[in-house]
Amino acid sequence: MNWTFFHKLGSPKWFYDISGKWLPWLQVSSLVLILVALAWGLAFTPPDYLQGNSYRIIFIHVPASFLAQSIYMMMATAAAVTLIWRIKLADMALKVMAPVGASFCILSLVTGAIWGQPTWGTWWVWDARLTSMLILLFLYIGIIALRGAIHTTEAAAKACAILSLVGVVNIPIIKFSVDWWNTLHQGATLKLTEKPSMAPEMLWPLLLAILGFYLFFTMVMVLRLRIEIISRERKTRWVKELVS
């Protein structure tokens, strides 16, 4: 099995050139998809028989929650790659993904709270998923804070990698214990994000929105990764030519 592809993938310069070609496509497709999906969800789908129009928030809340969780999983894989194969690009990805993941985590929390108001009349509901999302936000902030606190790049890279691996081991435990805690204390309230049997005309815009958000995330990550590459490889000749 030749590993050249894998190692080539690891070199920042190669990634910089390839991503240069992908970027315009990503930008156009993600923004178009998001606009179409949200317009469709907002204006053209009929309201939900139970929750009325407030359910339209689902087209942001669900993609944001999915994204927040899957970004953390991606960070854990990048962390494993950094620790095992010591590929610098993986650490750059880890460093770059954290703020994006945190922003989507906040978006999911806020939209969940806003959605809770018309449905239950209170802004914050200690629902199992919202609480797990809140703890996930703590994990994100922990990684961003640790990255800021350690100044030598190598030590910071490996420390954040270890922290995100410890975090990813902890996520199922947290989810399990929060769900268990939730059922213990509350009766069977309507689970906020449990999708009521989705009528097809609601399901399609949701899937489109999820795809749009994921493409948007890839685009943002490629943008940030290219900048991180320039900053980290500033001593190499190809960056010096690029900059001057």
């Binding site: 190692h7 690891g10 070199s11 920042p12 310069k13 190669w14 194969w85 010591r86 590929i87 610098k88 030598t152 790049t153 190598e154 980290r232 490889e233 500033r234 001593k235 190499t236 000749r237 190809w238």
Partner: protein, 222 residues
């Protein structure tokens, strides 16, 4: 026998030194020179096995260090900038826990004899917080004498040591190399070479020769 081949280390994207090689046979002293920040301490810490982010390889008794790190550490004594002693404990207690950690069986007499050699005979049961910096260093040297390790890795051992302390330490090096030991030391003072076993290595010679060009930045180790 320590053998370092083509060692290079990058710290914060700054190339400290590259393809640095040397051998250290038994009975030899190697003094590492270089201006501050040239990477002397980093070199010592890499050889002692603290750092793993390096390219190039280190052999101990012609086996790769990563395979025999336990045997290497049994046979190596590392003294960093700080003496590594707990200030609330007495010198004797400090020497006991350090010996236990280094897996050496040491009884009281051996430790007392070592403390006596460093002129700290009466101080064995006074908390280290009452000792001066020089005396603390001498307690660390007592640990050095009492340890069976053949390879000594000492980082700036002469700081806070007075003149006759320096000559005492040089006599200690000679005695150690005479018994087949090896000494790897960094210091700014030139060591006088009484038995012709002293070699010097200047880290700056292996410093940043050329700006890191494109290909170099591509290799996986980074």
């Amino acid at each position: 026998m320590l053998n370092v081949v083509q060692l290079s280390c990058e710290r914060d994207d700054r190339l400290l030194f590259s393809n640095l090689s040397f051998q250290l046979g038994s009975g030899e002293i190697l003094q590492i020179e270089g201006r501050n920040g040239a990477g002397k301490t980093s070199l010592l810490r890499i050889i002692a096995g603290f750092s793993s982010s390096l390219s190039g390889d280190i052999f101990w008794n012609d086996q790769p260090l990563s395979a025999v790190y336990a045997d290497f550490r049994l046979d190596c004594f590392f003294l960093g900038h700080k003496p590594g002693l707990k200030l609330d404990l007495t010198p004797l207690e400090n020497l006991v826990w350090r010996a236990r950690l280094a897996n050496t069986i040491i009884n009281r007499e051996v430790l007392l004899a070592a403390l006596d050699r460093v002129q700290l005979a009466g101080y064995e049961d006074i908390p280290c917080s009452h000792l001066s910096a020089g005396q603390l260093r001498r307690v660390a040297f007592a640990g050095l004498i009492a340890s069976p390790a053949r390879l000594w890795i000492l980082d700036e051992p002469f700081t806070a040591i007075d003149i006759e302390g320096v000559s005492w330490l040089e006599r200690l090096f000679d005695e150690h190399t005479h018994q087949g030991g090896m000494v790897l030391v960094t210091s700014h003072q030139p060591l006088n070479d009484r038995q012709g076993k002293l070699r010097k290595l200047n880290v700056e010679h292996f410093g940043e020769e050329r700006s890191v060009d494109g290909e170099r930045g591509q290799d996986v180790q980074g």
